[in-house]
Amino acid sequence: MTDILLSLSGLTKAYPGVVANDDVSFDIGTGEVHALLGENGAGKSTLVKMIYGLVKPDSGEMTLRGRSYAPAEPRAARADGIAMVFQHFSLFDALNVGENIALGMEQPPRMRDLADRIRAVSETYGLPLDPFRVVGDLSAGERQRVEIVRCLLQDPKLLIMDEPTSVLTPQEVDILFATLRKLRADGTSILYISHKLEEIRRLCDTATILRLGRKVGTCVPRDTTARDMAEMMVGSSLKTPQRAGRDLGPVALELQGFSAAAPSAFGTALKKVEFRVHAGELLGIGGVAGNGQDELLAVLSGEIRGTEGSLRLKGADIGGLGPRARRAAGLLTAPEERLGHAAAPNMSLTENAMLTGAVRERLETRGFLKWGAARAFATRIIAGFDVRTPGPDNAARSLSGGNLQKFVIGREVLQRPEVLVVNQPTWGVDAAAAAAIRQALLDLAAGGAAVVVISQDLDELMEICDRFGALNEGRLSPTRAVGDLSVEEIGLMMGGAHGMEVADV
């Protein structure tokens, strides 16, 4: 790693009320895998958007192979050999693989030639892909391959990858890393954005760490412990959640042969999902995104009707009940998407407290609403869960992701659920808030509630859960005690090899 490919110096970008990047400088060498490490909100994505020409810096400059580099738009960045694999938002579901790839190229060849080139590149790098399949039907891992192949066809000098492993099984991560190492060997530089420390230690040559928009350190990941990196990233020593010893109570929630049709064209059908969770138990449900997580939460919350099989809460069949009746019975849920699903962005926190709290907190009498009580409930959530906001009259959208998530989880936890189901409770949340949320879930279970955590963050599930199961294409593996599981077994569960029956096609 002798010569420098891209050099950033003094990059600053401010948005009203927040400095996203403050005087950030570092170099990326040719053929180097360079990690950009930081919490959510540390300024990683703003930084790469500047490199990719989506955002212009307020000050500072970049040099690419010794020449001044200031892309006006992504097109210019691509012309200079910079390619980016996005975390999400860059594929078109209704178009096929070839069309998606052509859209990311300046001078795409004819579709037939392009299809040949796609096949060639995908074979070279071990990323099998059919150019004529519709992207909406692909799995998360395959979708990522489309993005990577799209980048590789342009022969990039620098490949930017934004949180690439968050949608992959452990086995798929291995395949991806093999591809990236091969690229590095061919002389391609990679800017690898992540907050997963072990992966960075396995893959990257250098790491630049950002915190609150500033560069706080550089290290060689192989020679640095994950804990040290984490502390640089967070700026303080981390508190590990405390799990108290718990006694399991009777079965709180039980699903048997539970099926539901896919709610939309690109949704996932649930097929004979079965699990039981006891009072005082934390059940983790892992799996790659798009394998039925949203659907599972929606059928449990009562949003999706028309299910088959049985759903029992403390022995009582609640399959026919709607969301409000389920809440009354003690089954509470918190969906993944905070804005627009768990909370209404433009409504105040008081109004959002009413959203799920009306039934159990008695915020209505015969249809008439008690706004005073709702406001008091919102205030209680804000105080109890350390939600940073001026007050309950502020709109949900004015809160940061972590604070809103604390509000959403707090809203359910404070209603003393018998069973709480949460989907991606710490997605896009800063480390301090994530730790607080996990602790709240543990405390809830310790208090005798059953908790189901659906998450794509395996580390999180291993840290807080007692049992683990994985969703794959709408099927749930049998659940197993977390203590007995190896990483390989988890990977197989996520990949759909349940080791129990021949898959019914």
Binding site: S90, F92, A94
Partner: protein
């Protein structure tokens, strides 16, 4: 009543004439919707096109100049919609309604001096030999140029959407504006152009009513054709050739009921006059299950935050 008075050849020929305003407006709106924008102002743009075209044709004596003015008028009015929805990020449904209400008023205002005036006749295709053929002649070779333009436009839009890069980009923008933006495509600019194309087409369609189909100017003369064109896009499930088929179908219903009225069928005139609207509802009901061609970002507001 005398059903033998209905001449099938003339019926087909006049069906094509009745279908053309619908087709023009629907093809324009199809492109707009493919880019992810729902413009409910078709009726307003049509009626403004109708009067712009009519006025220009009367003043200049040239129907073709009239059509050009109609396209310009429709496009100009659609630019208002583009400003509202793409720049000021207003709700598309409300803005479309506003466009229609405004267009109806504006056209009435512009058309004050033109009530009862006769427009110059439009030229017809006259291919010696071909146009005189029995049956085939009047159906295929005896029309005005704008009718053929409608068919050609359908073909062009089909080719553009299916085979060209411009079409691919347009579809991509309509599918996910965030993804298109991330790849560096100018979402707002593309949508404004699409909206203006839709406006020009609607204007042409309107002028076709006032200059050829009727031909005269009366207030509110589009009588819901713009709305039927919107329904037609759903009927066509966003496919150009199906829009053509649908337009001819609706044209057929319209012409049929007019012929039945003329033939003195024992059904009251009012109930016959309802039929195109009732057929539209029926078709919407039958086809609303199929949203396969619907652009995913249809009607959503795009703001490139950060």
């Amino acid at each position: 009543m005398d059903l033998t008075a209905i001449n099938p050849v003339l019926l087909v020929a006049s069906l094509m004439v009745a279908a053309t305003p619908l087709l023009l407006a629907a093809i324009g709106e199809l492109v707009v919707e493919k880019s992810g924008v729902l413009n409910l102002g078709v009726e307003g743009m049509m009626i403004v096109g109708a009067i712009c075209g009519f006025a220009m044709a009367v003043e200049s004596g040239s129907p073709m100049l009239g059509f050009a003015a109609a396209a310009a008028g429709g496009a100009l009015l659609s630019l208002l919609f583009a400003l509202l929805t793409q720049v000021a990020l207003a709700n598309q449904v409300a803005s479309g309604l506003a466009l229609t209400l405004f267009g109806l008023g504006l056209s009435a205002l512009l058309g004050q001096g033109y009530v009862g005036v006769k427009p110059p006749p439009s030229p017809r295709l006259d291919l010696p030999g071909l146009s005189d053929l029995p049956v085939v002649g009047p159906i295929l070779f005896g029309h005005d140029p704008i009718l053929y333009l409608g068919v050609v436009l359908t073909a062009c839009v089909w080719v553009m959407l299916k085979f060209t890069r411009a079409g691919l980009i347009l579809r991509a923008v309509g599918e996910s504006h965030d993804a298109a933006h991330a790849l560096g495509y100018p979402v707002v600019r593309i949508r404004i152009l699409a909206i203006m194309f839709g406006g020009a087409c609607a204007g042409l369609g309107g002028a076709y009513i006032s200059l050829i189909r009727v031909p005269q100017w009366t207030e509110g003369m589009t009588a819901g054709i713009g709305w039927i064109a919107l329904a037609l896009v759903v009927f066509a499930s966003w496919k150009p050739w199906r829009a053509l088929l649908g337009a001819y179908l609706f044209g057929g219903v319209t012409v049929m009921q007019l012929n039945l009225q003329a033939a003195g069928v024992a059904i009251p005139v009012e109930y016959l006059a309802m039929s195109p609207y009732l057929v539209t509802i029926l078709v919407l009901v039958i086809l609303s299950a199929d949203r396969s061609g619907a652009p995913a970002a249809l009607g959503r507001i795009f703001h490139a935050s950060n």
